[in-house]
Amino acid sequence: MHLPIYLDYSATTPVDPRVAKKMIPYLSGHFGNPASRSHSFGWTAEAAVEEARAEVAALVKADPKEIIWTSGATESDNLAIKGVAHFYGETKGRHLISVKTEHKAVLDTLRELERQGFRVTYLDVRENGLIDPETLKAALCDDTALVSVMLVNNEIGVIQPIAGIGDLCHERGIIFHVDAAQATGKVDIDLSALNVDLMSFSAHKTYGPKGIGALYVRKKPRVRLEAQMHGGGHERGFRSGTLATHQIVGMGEAFRLAREEMATENTRVRQLRDRLLQGIARMEAVQVNGDMTARVAHNLNVSFAYVEGESLMMALKDLAVSSGSACTSASLEPSYVLRALGRPDELAHSSIRFTLGRFTTEEEIDYAIGLLWQKVGKLRDMSPLWEMAQAGIDLDTVQWAAH
């Protein structure tokens, strides 16, 4: 068993060896620029790009023509949201709706649009992390141009009810964007049946390489976007720039594997996740964050009360886990997702996200359980808050010295 044990599959996944194998030829012999139209190096690369596009489309039941390559889900989110706002701002309106628990790529893009004069409503979630479609319905305005809701939350793994939201948007002629970066290979996605206009994908959350993603842009009815990256007119003008063939090939292969292995893999991963949950469920003052039913199989997010988050991370250095999302973990801000669920700051700080994956083993899970008992126990023995709680003192009534 290799330490630290990797339990951070929602931050990024290893490239599946089968994916790497498929990529390597495009890093050596087949190095052509897919845009080169005058020789076979270019054609070989272009054919590989189109094969990969078909694989990505197949996983989500879309038409390959509806898939646009980008550098990753963050760029896809930016392109979808700014692209719609700038294209439809004058016709549909300047009101946008999203959710407080979205990824930073969505939230920061919306903040930027607010500075440009757009109006944005950020919906609250319920205590289980799910949005209430009625809340959304109430927020819709005559000038709402876009609704953006993620399919699977990156921190707590809850699955938002996008089918219903899509229908609601469709009725009102509002464009619906879904960030599905955390969903591929975890949740069935059928874009031929869903009322979704735009969907963001990432390769490196699904055992593909970093640096590549895609945006689904619906053809019927056609959705238009203002391009954010201009240049040689690649990707039908939606996104210019030399295509990184090997990365695209990797994403195609990763999505093909996801399509073929999703069902069996999710069963296996769910068993391991449930084993982890059962292993720590008997520990006192442990709280699961987010709904356990509408949730992907590989995520467990738990708060360990009365221990501080950073020292907990330090104690768990043999586990590669995340407290809050990877993108924000450089700062000491408590997770805004857990705050949106109503968790107090200290509980948000002491929450750990375990995300399991394709290469997680039972042995690793058992080791993690043992380590959690030992380390949380040690920190609690050292914690004055735990001592007070054990003595029956309600910490909320304590007058803390201002500091």
């Binding site: 988050g309 050292m382 808050l385 010295a401």
Partner: protein, 129 residues
């Protein structure tokens, strides 16, 4: 966040974790910080009749630097008189542990904990006298 060797040592092998009966004579208890700020330190000193700190205990809810700062001061106050203990400054703690700038507040908190424990001890002494 990269921690110094000394912080890691104190964090992994904290000295003097625990507590005394706060009502016992000669025991001073200081509790500083707040859960919402991410640090709570409880420092207890046991002072002999000669005014020398014979023993110290701590419990800390906080990051590795906070735990190390409080562990360190329990070592430092032992054998000192109450007045000498009050001369321990946060800069010395920060220097000893090589705390990065974002962790200086941990050393300040530890200094505050000494002051609070001494104040509590003196208050009890004053009350008895």
């Amino acid at each position: 966040m990269s921690y110094s060797v000394k912080v890691i040592d104190h964090y992994e092998n904290p000295r003097n974790v625990g507590g005394f009966d706060a009502d016992e004579a000669g025991v001073g208890t200081g509790m500083v910080g707040a859960p919402a700020c991410g640090d709570v330190m409880k420092l207890q000193i046991k002072v002999g009749e000669n005014g020398v700190i014979e023993d110290a205990r701590f419990k800390t809810y906080g990051c590795g630097s906070a735990i190390a700062s409080s562990s360190l001061v329990t070592e430092w106050v032992k054998g000192k008189t109450v007045d000498e203990a009050l001369n321990i400054k946060n800069a010395q703690i920060a220097e000893e542990l090589a705390l990065p700038p974002v962790k200086i507040h941990c050393s300040i908190l530890a200094e505050d904990a000494i002051k609070a424990a001494v104040a509590d001890y003196r208050k009890k002494q004053g009350g008895e006298a």
